[in-house]
């Protein structure tokens, strides 16, 4: 098991585990421009909802005690310029189901763990349409993994760069 050790622990680590209900998570309603995410934002739902403005989320560097932090992303308004997520000193593995509203054109496109540094939803073919939802988790000090789906029209292309 890997879990950060120097973070404030909100459970007592009892062998029977813990329980919780009635939680509210942080919602980051991004404005146009760049929003630098912080380790303390981990667990937030980050919105892509500024159609005409380039909206960029920069992931935090993954420190030794940041493995396991995660962010969810939801596209609620179809973009017309660029929705982007940039890793800083890390790369991105995993992949996305690129869901097309055109029959037989959906595809699963993997990221390249060794070299992918950003997810760019900058056209309908790369998944900037409303409906996308995916999660990114820091799996070690130099890698994120992504899972979920982006939405577009036509033959889907890779959003990874």
């Amino acid at each position: 098991m890997t879990i950060a050790t120097n973070r404030e622990s909100i459970t007592h680590g009892s062998p029977g585990g813990a329980r919780v209900r009635g939680l509210a998570r942080q919602v980051i309603d991004g404005a146009a421009g760049t929003r630098v995410l912080l380790p303390s934002d981990s667990g937030a739902l980050c919105m892509f909802n500024v159609a005409a403005g380039s909206q960029i989320y920069t992931l935090p560097a993954i420190g030794a005690n940041d493995v396991g932090m995660y962010f969810d992303f939801s596209v609620t308004v179809t973009g017309t310029t660029t929705y982007s997520i940039d890793a800083t000193s890390a790369t991105i593995g995993g992949g996305l189901l690129m869901a097309s509203t055109t029959p037989n054109e959906s595809d699963f496109i993997p990221a390249t763990l060794a070299s992918t540094v950003s997810i760019d939803l900058d056209a309908v073919l790369t998944g900037e349409n409303a409906g996308g939802y995916f999660t990114m988790v820091a799996i070690d000090t130099s890698h994120w993994t992504v899972g979920g789906y982006a939405v577009g029209v036509g033959t889907m292309l890779t959003p990874f760069a």
Binding site: E8, R19, R21, G22, S74, A130, Y133
Partner: protein, 162 residues
Amino acid sequence: MTIATNREHLDFGASEGSRWTGVAKQVIDAAGTTRQLLVGESGALCIFSTVAGQIYNLPLIGADDIGMWFEFAITVSGTSNSYTINTNAANFLSGGIVATSTTPGDEDVFTGDNATDTALTLDADVDGRLGGGMFKLTAVSLTKWTIGGFTVTTPAALDPFS
């Protein structure tokens, strides 16, 4: 940034964040027809398992409720009536859901319209009431829920939002 302020704080707000282990979430397996979900049940996994249909009503989003969420899993395919999720009349659905079809080429994507959609109605195989579907709804403003996840349909999928 938006986060509820009047809720019980489990962490002290340390800049490096917090951690938890071994957490078990609430599971709501509502037999029968209609189950009103409560603000205090946020984070629960809500099960659709009654073949004759089931309804979950989401709570009204209050000023301190942004960020609450509910997850849904269809564990038994519906065979009559509907698996339905209703918002309060003052709240609307945004985001979208992938309809995965067991029929090749019939997958599709549907979205809430942010303005008028108040229900997700899975009332036929083509609407996604088959077992295997799983999705999450999160309150992102005073008037909107956003949805993410997938349903399972057969054959061609139809829009479950209304």
